[in-house]
Symmetry: C2
Subunit: 127 residues, 2 copies
Amino acid sequence: MKYQSPAIGNEISCVMHQIKNRVLKNNKKLEGILISGLKKDNFNILGKISHEFNPHGYTITILLSESHAAFHTYPEYNSLFFYLYSCRGSDDGRKTYEFVKKKLKPFYEDFNERAIIVNNKFKSLNI
Amino acid sequence: MKYQSPAIGNEISCVMHQIKNRVLKNNKKLEGILISGLKKDNFNILGKISHEFNPHGYTITILLSESHAAFHTYPEYNSLFFYLYSCRGSDDGRKTYEFVKKKLKPFYEDFNERAIIVNNKFKSLNI
């Protein structure tokens, strides 16, 4: 059988605001939260790469069989940017997002989600 | 002086369609194109992680001092998903995007761009 990825992926892009300092500056814990969320959502982790900035700030991307996820922190603003792109279909990755949000407890957030159509045949169907 | 990131980042998320097979299946070349574009746009590369799928498909994320970039290919659909998040301010990363597009020559694309406000103080200003 010829391999075909689902024709639609899902992108979640969210800034979480007013996260407590002790959470936002614990980089090891942040990594654990993101990885736990992805595993609970049955994503397969291929690898990860991260960096700690001076004097503060942390950035991590996690490569998945199903695309990728990332955290970028802004301790100076008490905010964190969360990103997840999944190729498993529309609405996917919500479980990871909900887990992360539950753990980080932002006071409010700027949430965006978008279906990503990777199969151009949809274009002619006006989807 | 206390370090502060710019209060606005920029997210570019684009599916490029109908890329020629010989381009889309040359993973080493794709990596080179993404890295060249980022360097020409003065991004600082901290590291990269990639994976080649069987029977086809390639995925790479590049960690930047200014956040991250990624390619995910769909040879079965002749398409590629390009992502770049930069914390350097609004409209940033266009130079990388234009370079990638020029090299990959998609027949058409689904381009999305969004300012990411990481400083919650903007909320009260209704920006």
